[in-house]
Protein backbone atom coordinates (compact mmCIF):
# COMPACT_ATOMS: atom_id res chain seq x y z
CA UNK A 1 0.00 0.00 0.00
CA UNK A 2 1.19 3.43 -0.79
CA UNK A 3 1.11 6.40 1.47
CA UNK A 4 -1.39 9.16 0.93
CA UNK A 5 -4.25 10.82 2.69
CA UNK A 6 -7.75 9.38 2.64
CA UNK A 7 -9.31 12.57 1.37
CA UNK A 8 -8.45 11.73 -2.17
CA UNK A 9 -5.22 13.21 -3.39
CA UNK A 10 -1.99 11.84 -2.03
CA UNK A 11 0.92 13.92 -0.86
CA UNK A 12 3.70 11.39 -0.59
CA UNK A 13 4.38 9.19 -3.61
CA UNK A 14 4.57 5.43 -3.24
CA UNK A 15 7.57 3.68 -4.75
CA UNK A 16 5.47 2.70 -7.75
CA UNK A 17 4.18 6.20 -8.33
CA UNK A 18 7.62 7.73 -7.86
CA UNK A 19 9.09 5.51 -10.56
CA UNK A 20 6.14 6.06 -12.90
CA UNK A 21 6.59 9.79 -12.46
CA UNK A 22 10.34 9.62 -12.95
CA UNK A 23 10.17 7.48 -16.08
CA UNK A 24 7.01 8.67 -17.83
CA UNK A 25 6.95 12.28 -16.66
CA UNK A 26 9.91 13.47 -18.74
CA UNK A 27 8.36 11.83 -21.81
CA UNK A 28 5.24 13.94 -21.30
CA UNK A 29 3.01 10.91 -20.97
CA UNK A 30 1.33 11.78 -17.66
CA UNK A 31 -1.79 13.94 -17.68
CA UNK A 32 -2.60 13.67 -14.02
CA UNK A 33 -1.91 11.51 -10.99
CA UNK A 34 -3.70 11.01 -7.75
CA UNK A 35 -3.98 8.59 -4.89
CA UNK A 36 -7.49 7.84 -3.81
CA UNK A 37 -7.95 5.80 -0.65
CA UNK A 38 -4.45 4.42 -1.10
CA UNK A 39 -4.88 3.45 -4.76
CA UNK A 40 -2.28 4.95 -7.07
CA UNK A 41 -3.85 6.31 -10.22
CA UNK A 42 -2.18 7.67 -13.32
CA UNK A 43 -4.10 9.35 -16.13
CA UNK A 44 -2.55 9.23 -19.59
CA UNK A 45 -3.45 10.23 -23.13
CA UNK A 46 -5.33 7.50 -24.97
CA UNK A 47 -2.88 7.74 -27.87
CA UNK A 48 -0.01 6.86 -25.55
CA UNK A 49 -1.65 3.85 -23.92
CA UNK A 50 0.55 1.20 -25.53
CA UNK A 51 3.78 2.98 -24.63
CA UNK A 52 2.65 3.37 -21.02
CA UNK A 53 1.43 -0.21 -20.75
CA UNK A 54 4.60 -1.66 -22.25
CA UNK A 55 6.57 0.22 -19.61
CA UNK A 56 4.32 -0.99 -16.76
CA UNK A 57 4.43 -4.57 -17.99
CA UNK A 58 8.12 -4.92 -18.83
CA UNK A 59 9.99 -2.50 -16.58
CA UNK A 60 11.78 -4.69 -13.99
CA UNK A 61 10.67 -2.54 -11.08
CA UNK A 62 7.07 -2.44 -12.29
CA UNK A 63 6.41 -5.88 -13.87
CA UNK A 64 2.63 -5.62 -13.79
CA UNK A 65 2.06 -9.16 -15.00
CA UNK A 66 -1.67 -9.33 -14.30
CA UNK A 67 -4.46 -7.25 -15.75
CA UNK A 68 -7.12 -7.43 -13.05
CA UNK A 69 -9.83 -5.39 -14.71
CA UNK A 70 -10.60 -3.24 -17.70
CA UNK A 71 -13.75 -1.21 -18.04
CA UNK A 72 -15.10 2.09 -19.27
CA UNK A 73 -16.95 4.96 -17.63
CA UNK A 74 -19.30 7.47 -19.22
CA UNK A 75 -19.07 10.88 -17.53
CA UNK A 76 -21.74 12.55 -19.67
CA UNK A 77 -22.92 15.60 -17.72
CA UNK A 78 -20.40 14.99 -14.94
CA UNK A 79 -17.16 15.93 -16.70
CA UNK A 80 -16.57 18.72 -14.18
CA UNK A 81 -16.09 16.22 -11.38
CA UNK A 82 -12.73 15.24 -12.89
CA UNK A 83 -10.34 18.15 -13.40
CA UNK A 84 -8.48 16.56 -16.31
CA UNK A 85 -11.57 15.66 -18.38
CA UNK A 86 -12.87 19.12 -19.20
CA UNK A 87 -9.81 20.60 -20.95
CA UNK A 88 -9.75 17.52 -23.22
CA UNK A 89 -13.52 17.71 -23.84
CA UNK A 90 -13.45 14.06 -22.87
CA UNK A 91 -16.57 12.15 -22.00
CA UNK A 92 -15.41 8.55 -21.56
CA UNK A 93 -12.62 6.98 -19.62
CA UNK A 94 -11.11 3.56 -20.10
CA UNK A 95 -9.92 2.26 -16.73
CA UNK A 96 -7.28 -0.43 -16.24
CA UNK A 97 -6.45 -2.07 -12.93
CA UNK A 98 -3.06 -3.73 -12.93
CA UNK A 99 -1.45 -5.98 -10.36
CA UNK A 100 2.03 -7.39 -10.06
CA UNK A 101 2.08 -10.89 -8.61
CA UNK A 102 5.85 -10.69 -8.36
CA UNK A 103 6.05 -7.32 -6.59
CA UNK A 104 2.64 -7.37 -4.90
CA UNK A 105 1.75 -3.86 -5.93
CA UNK A 106 -1.05 -2.29 -7.90
CA UNK A 107 -1.78 0.67 -10.11
CA UNK A 108 -4.83 2.11 -11.83
CA UNK A 109 -4.43 3.61 -15.29
CA UNK A 110 -7.06 5.82 -16.88
CA UNK A 111 -7.31 7.11 -20.43
CA UNK A 112 -9.89 9.78 -21.31
CA UNK A 113 -11.70 9.58 -24.65
CA UNK A 114 -13.96 11.93 -26.55
CA UNK A 115 -17.16 10.83 -28.25
CA UNK A 116 -15.80 11.83 -31.66
CA UNK A 117 -12.55 9.95 -31.17
CA UNK A 118 -13.70 6.97 -29.17
CA UNK A 119 -10.77 4.79 -30.16
CA UNK A 120 -7.94 3.35 -28.15
CA UNK A 121 -5.28 0.76 -28.90
CA UNK A 122 -5.97 -2.75 -27.66
CA UNK A 123 -3.72 -4.12 -24.93
CA UNK A 124 -4.44 -7.74 -25.86
CA UNK A 125 -0.90 -7.94 -27.20
CA UNK A 126 0.43 -7.28 -23.70
CA UNK A 127 -2.14 -9.14 -21.61
CA UNK A 128 -4.11 -11.77 -23.55
CA UNK A 129 -6.72 -11.66 -20.79
CA UNK A 130 -7.80 -8.20 -21.90
CA UNK A 131 -9.63 -9.77 -24.84
CA UNK A 132 -13.09 -10.27 -23.31
CA UNK A 133 -12.85 -7.14 -21.14
CA UNK A 134 -12.32 -5.03 -24.23
CA UNK A 135 -15.19 -6.76 -26.00
CA UNK A 136 -17.43 -5.99 -23.02
CA UNK A 137 -16.40 -2.32 -22.98
CA UNK A 138 -17.04 -2.17 -26.71
CA UNK A 139 -20.41 -3.90 -26.35
CA UNK A 140 -21.78 -1.71 -23.57
CA UNK A 141 -19.97 1.62 -24.12
CA UNK A 142 -18.98 1.60 -27.77
CA UNK A 143 -15.29 2.13 -27.16
CA UNK A 144 -13.43 0.76 -30.17
CA UNK A 145 -10.19 -1.06 -29.36
CA UNK A 146 -7.85 -0.86 -32.32
CA UNK A 147 -5.91 -4.02 -33.04
CA UNK A 148 -8.25 -6.28 -31.10
CA UNK A 149 -8.31 -9.75 -32.74
CA UNK A 150 -12.09 -10.27 -32.50
CA UNK A 151 -13.92 -7.08 -31.56
CA UNK A 152 -17.60 -8.02 -31.56
CA UNK A 153 -20.38 -7.99 -29.00
CA UNK A 154 -19.90 -10.38 -26.09
CA UNK A 155 -22.99 -9.95 -23.87
CA UNK A 156 -25.64 -8.58 -26.22
CA UNK A 157 -26.72 -10.11 -29.48
CA UNK A 158 -25.95 -9.33 -33.08
CA UNK A 159 -28.41 -6.74 -34.34
CA UNK A 160 -28.65 -4.86 -31.04
CA UNK A 161 -28.46 -1.16 -31.83
CA UNK A 162 -26.48 1.20 -29.65
CA UNK A 163 -24.50 0.75 -26.47
CA UNK A 164 -26.83 0.52 -23.47
CA UNK A 165 -24.54 1.71 -20.67
CA UNK A 166 -23.92 5.03 -22.38
CA UNK A 167 -25.70 7.69 -20.40
CA UNK A 168 -27.55 8.94 -23.48
CA UNK A 169 -29.01 5.51 -24.29
CA UNK A 170 -32.78 5.80 -23.79
CA UNK A 171 -33.48 3.75 -20.69
CA UNK A 172 -36.91 2.81 -22.02
CA UNK A 173 -35.64 1.56 -25.37
CA UNK A 174 -36.30 -2.17 -25.84
CA UNK A 175 -35.05 -4.36 -28.66
CA UNK A 176 -36.16 -7.94 -27.96
CA UNK A 177 -35.23 -10.78 -30.28
CA UNK A 178 -38.65 -12.38 -29.78
CA UNK A 179 -41.87 -11.33 -28.09
CA UNK A 180 -43.46 -7.94 -27.45
CA UNK A 181 -41.49 -4.74 -26.96
CA UNK A 182 -42.36 -4.13 -23.32
Amino acid sequence: MSQGDNKGYGVVDSAVMARVRAKLGPLGLILHTHNQHGDDTVVVQADDILQVMEFLRHDPAMSFDMMMDLTAVDYLGAERTHPYLEPLKARFEVVYHLYSVEKNHRIRVKAPLTLENCYINSVTGIWAGADWFEREAFDLYGVVFRGHPNLKRILLYEGFEGHPLRKDYDKFKRQPLIGPVN
Partner: protein
Protein backbone atom coordinates in the same frame (compact mmCIF):
# COMPACT_ATOMS: atom_id res chain seq x y z
CA UNK B 1 -81.21 -64.19 -13.12
CA UNK B 2 -79.18 -61.73 -15.32
CA UNK B 3 -75.42 -61.78 -15.63
CA UNK B 4 -75.14 -58.19 -14.35
CA UNK B 5 -76.79 -58.87 -11.08
CA UNK B 6 -74.42 -58.81 -8.16
CA UNK B 7 -75.36 -60.21 -4.85
CA UNK B 8 -74.78 -58.19 -1.69
CA UNK B 9 -72.34 -60.83 -0.62
CA UNK B 10 -70.24 -60.32 -3.75
CA UNK B 11 -70.24 -56.50 -3.29
CA UNK B 12 -69.02 -56.94 0.23
CA UNK B 13 -66.30 -59.30 -0.93
CA UNK B 14 -65.04 -56.90 -3.67
CA UNK B 15 -65.30 -53.57 -1.82
CA UNK B 16 -61.78 -53.76 -0.50
CA UNK B 17 -60.16 -54.35 -3.89
CA UNK B 18 -62.17 -52.46 -6.55
CA UNK B 19 -62.47 -48.71 -7.11
CA UNK B 20 -64.91 -47.31 -9.62
CA UNK B 21 -63.96 -43.94 -11.12
CA UNK B 22 -63.66 -42.02 -14.39
CA UNK B 23 -60.69 -42.59 -16.68
CA UNK B 24 -59.86 -38.85 -16.83
CA UNK B 25 -59.76 -38.65 -13.04
CA UNK B 26 -57.49 -41.65 -12.85
CA UNK B 27 -55.10 -40.22 -15.45
CA UNK B 28 -55.05 -36.79 -13.80
CA UNK B 29 -54.40 -38.41 -10.44
CA UNK B 30 -51.38 -40.12 -11.96
CA UNK B 31 -50.15 -36.95 -13.62
CA UNK B 32 -50.44 -34.82 -10.56
CA UNK B 33 -48.03 -37.04 -8.66
CA UNK B 34 -45.50 -37.64 -11.41
CA UNK B 35 -44.21 -34.32 -12.69
CA UNK B 36 -40.93 -34.56 -14.51
CA UNK B 37 -39.23 -31.17 -14.21
CA UNK B 38 -37.15 -29.41 -16.78
CA UNK B 39 -35.05 -27.03 -14.64
CA UNK B 40 -34.52 -23.93 -16.80
CA UNK B 41 -32.26 -22.35 -14.20
CA UNK B 42 -30.62 -19.07 -15.18
CA UNK B 43 -29.93 -17.10 -12.01
CA UNK B 44 -29.79 -16.88 -8.23
CA UNK B 45 -33.24 -18.46 -7.72
CA UNK B 46 -31.46 -21.66 -8.68
CA UNK B 47 -29.88 -21.82 -5.22
CA UNK B 48 -33.33 -21.72 -3.65
CA UNK B 49 -34.52 -24.28 -6.15
CA UNK B 50 -31.77 -26.62 -4.96
CA UNK B 51 -33.02 -26.09 -1.43
CA UNK B 52 -36.55 -27.05 -2.49
CA UNK B 53 -35.26 -30.10 -4.29
CA UNK B 54 -33.05 -31.14 -1.38
CA UNK B 55 -34.04 -33.33 1.55
CA UNK B 56 -35.20 -30.59 3.93
CA UNK B 57 -38.11 -29.36 1.77
CA UNK B 58 -38.10 -32.31 -0.61
CA UNK B 59 -40.40 -31.92 -3.62
CA UNK B 60 -40.21 -35.69 -3.94
CA UNK B 61 -43.03 -35.77 -1.36
CA UNK B 62 -45.21 -34.32 -4.11
CA UNK B 63 -43.93 -36.64 -6.79
CA UNK B 64 -41.91 -33.94 -8.56
CA UNK B 65 -38.40 -34.98 -7.68
CA UNK B 66 -36.86 -36.13 -10.89
CA UNK B 67 -35.32 -33.44 -13.12
CA UNK B 68 -35.06 -34.34 -16.77
CA UNK B 69 -32.43 -32.48 -18.72
CA UNK B 70 -34.09 -33.07 -22.05
CA UNK B 71 -37.31 -31.17 -22.78
CA UNK B 72 -38.55 -34.26 -24.64
CA UNK B 73 -38.74 -36.17 -21.37
CA UNK B 74 -40.17 -33.40 -19.18
CA UNK B 75 -43.72 -32.19 -18.63
CA UNK B 76 -43.15 -29.36 -16.12
CA UNK B 77 -41.01 -26.43 -17.27
CA UNK B 78 -39.54 -24.79 -14.16
CA UNK B 79 -38.34 -21.35 -15.25
CA UNK B 80 -36.04 -20.35 -12.41
CA UNK B 81 -34.33 -16.97 -12.69
CA UNK B 82 -34.07 -13.88 -14.85
CA UNK B 83 -34.79 -14.38 -18.54
CA UNK B 84 -32.85 -11.97 -20.71
CA UNK B 85 -33.85 -11.01 -24.23
CA UNK B 86 -30.88 -13.01 -25.44
CA UNK B 87 -32.19 -16.06 -23.60
CA UNK B 88 -35.83 -15.65 -24.70
CA UNK B 89 -35.66 -17.57 -28.02
CA UNK B 90 -33.98 -20.47 -26.22
CA UNK B 91 -36.75 -20.62 -23.61
CA UNK B 92 -39.41 -20.59 -26.31
CA UNK B 93 -37.59 -23.32 -28.20
CA UNK B 94 -37.36 -25.52 -25.10
CA UNK B 95 -41.07 -24.98 -24.44
CA UNK B 96 -41.93 -25.94 -27.99
CA UNK B 97 -39.81 -29.08 -27.77
CA UNK B 98 -41.67 -30.42 -24.74
CA UNK B 99 -44.20 -33.16 -25.40
CA UNK B 100 -47.86 -32.80 -24.39
CA UNK B 101 -49.19 -32.50 -21.78
CA UNK B 102 -46.97 -29.76 -20.41
CA UNK B 103 -47.12 -27.13 -17.71
CA UNK B 104 -45.05 -24.04 -16.91
CA UNK B 105 -44.02 -22.88 -13.46
CA UNK B 106 -42.76 -19.27 -13.17
CA UNK B 107 -40.36 -19.37 -10.25
CA UNK B 108 -39.36 -16.02 -8.72
CA UNK B 109 -40.10 -12.35 -9.32
CA UNK B 110 -37.90 -12.08 -12.40
CA UNK B 111 -39.77 -14.74 -14.33
CA UNK B 112 -43.13 -13.42 -13.12
CA UNK B 113 -42.65 -9.78 -14.11
CA UNK B 114 -39.00 -9.01 -14.73
CA UNK B 115 -38.66 -8.30 -11.01
CA UNK B 116 -36.40 -5.42 -10.19
CA UNK B 117 -34.95 -5.43 -13.69
CA UNK B 118 -36.75 -3.08 -16.05
CA UNK B 119 -34.01 -2.41 -18.54
CA UNK B 120 -32.67 -3.12 -21.99
CA UNK B 121 -31.75 -6.70 -21.16
CA UNK B 122 -34.65 -8.33 -19.32
CA UNK B 123 -37.91 -9.93 -20.43
CA UNK B 124 -40.78 -8.40 -18.45
CA UNK B 125 -42.38 -11.68 -17.41
CA UNK B 126 -42.20 -15.00 -19.23
CA UNK B 127 -45.96 -14.89 -19.85
CA UNK B 128 -45.05 -12.53 -22.71
CA UNK B 129 -43.35 -15.55 -24.34
CA UNK B 130 -45.17 -18.75 -23.29
CA UNK B 131 -48.37 -19.70 -21.39
CA UNK B 132 -47.75 -19.97 -17.63
CA UNK B 133 -49.75 -22.13 -15.20
CA UNK B 134 -48.39 -21.01 -11.83
CA UNK B 135 -46.74 -17.74 -10.83
CA UNK B 136 -44.67 -17.83 -7.64
CA UNK B 137 -43.17 -14.40 -6.93
CA UNK B 138 -40.44 -13.74 -4.39
CA UNK B 139 -36.79 -12.79 -4.54
CA UNK B 140 -36.22 -15.67 -4.13
CA UNK B 141 -39.50 -17.33 -3.07
CA UNK B 142 -39.43 -19.28 0.16
CA UNK B 143 -39.44 -23.04 -0.36
CA UNK B 144 -42.84 -23.14 1.34
CA UNK B 145 -44.18 -20.81 -1.37
CA UNK B 146 -42.81 -23.09 -4.07
CA UNK B 147 -44.42 -26.13 -2.47
CA UNK B 148 -47.68 -24.18 -2.20
CA UNK B 149 -47.41 -23.32 -5.88
CA UNK B 150 -46.75 -26.95 -6.71
CA UNK B 151 -49.86 -28.00 -4.76
CA UNK B 152 -51.87 -25.35 -6.63
CA UNK B 153 -50.61 -26.80 -9.91
CA UNK B 154 -51.63 -30.29 -8.77
CA UNK B 155 -55.12 -29.00 -8.02
CA UNK B 156 -55.23 -27.43 -11.46
CA UNK B 157 -54.14 -30.67 -13.11
CA UNK B 158 -56.89 -32.59 -11.30
CA UNK B 159 -59.53 -30.21 -12.61
CA UNK B 160 -58.37 -30.28 -16.22
CA UNK B 161 -60.35 -32.33 -18.77
CA UNK B 162 -57.87 -34.72 -20.33
CA UNK B 163 -58.86 -34.01 -23.93
CA UNK B 164 -58.38 -30.25 -23.57
CA UNK B 165 -54.80 -30.36 -22.44
CA UNK B 166 -52.99 -29.67 -25.68
CA UNK B 167 -50.97 -26.46 -25.40
CA UNK B 168 -49.30 -26.45 -28.80
CA UNK B 169 -46.40 -24.22 -29.70
CA UNK B 170 -45.80 -20.84 -28.09
CA UNK B 171 -48.10 -18.04 -29.29
CA UNK B 172 -44.95 -16.47 -30.68
CA UNK B 173 -44.40 -19.44 -32.96
CA UNK B 174 -41.22 -21.37 -33.49
CA UNK B 175 -38.21 -19.61 -32.02
CA UNK B 176 -35.18 -19.15 -34.19
CA UNK B 177 -32.06 -19.08 -32.05
CA UNK B 178 -29.67 -19.51 -34.95
CA UNK B 179 -28.77 -15.83 -34.90
CA UNK B 180 -27.85 -16.18 -31.22
CA UNK B 181 -25.43 -18.97 -31.99
CA UNK B 182 -24.03 -17.02 -34.92
CA UNK B 183 -23.65 -13.94 -32.74
Amino acid sequence: MGVNEVTPGEVAALSDSVIITQLSKLVNWGRKYSFFLYPFVTACCGMEFMSVAGPRYDIDRFGAALPRFSPRQADLLMVVGTISHKQAPILVKVYNQMAEPKWVFAYGSCTVSGGMYNNYATVQGIDTLIPVDVFVPGCPPRPEMVLDGLIMLQEKVVREPRINLTRGVSPLGEADDRKIIAG
